[in-house]
Symmetry: C2
Subunit: 314 residues, 2 copies
């Protein structure tokens, strides 16, 4: 049996798994990221965990290791200045795991890993040009053109969440104003809900929830129960995303755009206005050509996407 | 001697030339595009012209033919519904020239041809990730990522002139509003000048020119003589382009952006505000990494860029 290892490094936990060539996770483990402030200790622990899993398989051949992490740079093999991880500066993570296993190790950021996972195991099988949009706390993106990941000259391409969609708009964590992710993300949905609770003078079940406890999931549940403000929140979110997607299509002309992450699970209440707004804002030559689809990667997306880096690069 | 042919199809004229491997045009010719409404006649005439030029060289080997034309589609080999050319619908131009010469023939649009010319003969030699912005009546763009032309799934990627930069903004020829090219192009400069003549209550030499005779060149000349409104026009144009470039960098992370075409010849009066606005609007991780440079392609850019398609594809 030939296996790849996928390692998904999140701010809280690190999940890893052995993935066979059909895209099935045959064994998995996880450790805390947050509590492992010493990087070498962390690498040793993850490596021990992987060796333990490999020991349970019957003479499996290890093809390589793929790592997905915020600010993971494909070219440098380093995690670079990640705000939400315990290790500061440039972290030479590819080198660290090569030293442990002596197999090829690949690193990319989480959104790119999701895009590669979509291409190798998900809804983008056989596609050469598509965009993966990851909707979480922020908005990430991985762009595939001509069958290749678009990395740019420094490995940082695909920061679609920081395209400015509203001059002088909402404050963004990046220090600027009006970035797409301040409107279109789980956080953006909560901000829109808060804004509409001020703007509209109608009843809403969202009014009984303290602002600090409001989540995109609660807004989506309220919308599915017919709450007018909650419905307007998704209408607005879809409008904003659709506009931005029309611009992205003009630049990279993808066959499909996949929406991935918790917010994408809201379903048609999000997808319908996104498609409507994208087509309404689309340049003629691109109209009715680009599909907007839910990701076909399930809960194991992060491990699968990271593991897919290995086969994608061979 | 090994030669490529470059054919540049403009709305008025078609220029063609024999280009040697160092990027020198060794012979050239041109015929009217506009007056040749019969496509097969047109192909015959261009082909006769090329054969005549080849006859003057001493036993040259013809490597291939590159064609740059508005709406030229690399994948289909057809000019598709070009508004400013005399042939309607899908025009199988690659096939037509293959039949004439029996050598490889490549087609792309004019902005992509300029990008490839920049990479093969111009300022982008050795670069793998850059954007070529062509500033003429409109704004075209050719995007190179990872050393390859970004075509998208249908060959139409790189329509950066139709990214919407101002919701509900200026009417665009594409039928929508607020497209980048309505602000940043030779036409955009004239519109901005007209707008500022209405908005500002100060003297300007532009006030003595009828609106229909106002050109970007006249505005740029007035600016170089210190005309306050003309200077503000370029300040505004640079601000608008810089904002858009910051967004393009977030998406494709190029090493450099080249400005090509008549308007780019305005020099620092344009480049200075473009750079300033781009950096002011740039996401932190991209700051001070992307150069904004004048194209190094001269007046022969269109022929050279088209001819470069041949070596780029071999």
């Amino acid at each position: 049996m030939k296996l790849s290892v996928g390692i998904d490094i999140g701010g809280t936990n690190t999940a890893f798994g052995l993935v066979d060539e059909s895209g099935r996770i045959v064994a998995r483990g996880n450790i805390s990221t947050r509590n492992n402030t010493d990087f070498q200790d962390y690498v040793n622990q993850v490596s021990d965990g992987i060796r333990q899993l490999l020991g349970q398989t019957n003479g499996a051949e290890l093809l390589g290791i793929g790592i997905g992490a915020a600010n993971g740079n494909y070219f440098s093999g380093c995690i670079e200045n990640a705000a939400n991880l315990p290790w500061k500066g440039l972290v030479k993570i590819v080198e660290a795991f090569e030293n442990q296993f002596g197999v090829p190790v690949f690193l990319t950021n989480d959104a790119n890993a999701a895009a590669i996972g979509e291409m190798v195991y998900g809804g983008a099988k056989g596609m050469t040009d598509f965009i993966e949009i990851t909707l979480g706390t922020g908005l990430g993106s991985g762009i595939v053109t001509g069958g290749k990941m678009l990395y740019g000259h420094d490995g940082f391409a695909g920061e679609c969440g920081h395209v400015i969609v509203e001059r002088g708009g909402r404050d963004c964590g990046c220090g600027r104003k009006g970035c797409l992710e301040t409107y279109v993300s789980a956080t953006g949905v909560v901000r829109t809900a808060t804004e509409l609770l001020a703007k509209r003078n109608i009843d809403s079940e969202l009014r009984s929830i303290p602002n600090s406890e409001l989540t995109a999931l609660k807004v989506s549940q309220a919308a599915s129960r017919g709450d007018a403000i909650a419905k307007e929140v998704f209408e607005f979110t879809g409008e904003m995303l659709g506009r931005a997607l029309a611009d992205f299509v003009a630049i990279t002309s993808p066959q499909a755009i996949f929406l991935f992450g918790g917010l994408a699970k809201a379903g048609e209440i999000l997808f319908e206005p996104v498609r409507r707004s994208m087509e309404a804002n689309m340049l003629n030559i691109f109209k009715n050509k680009t599909q907007v689809l839910p990701s076909q990667l399930g809960d194991d997306a992060a491990i699968l996407g990271s593991a897919a880096l290995v086969s994608f690069n061979q």
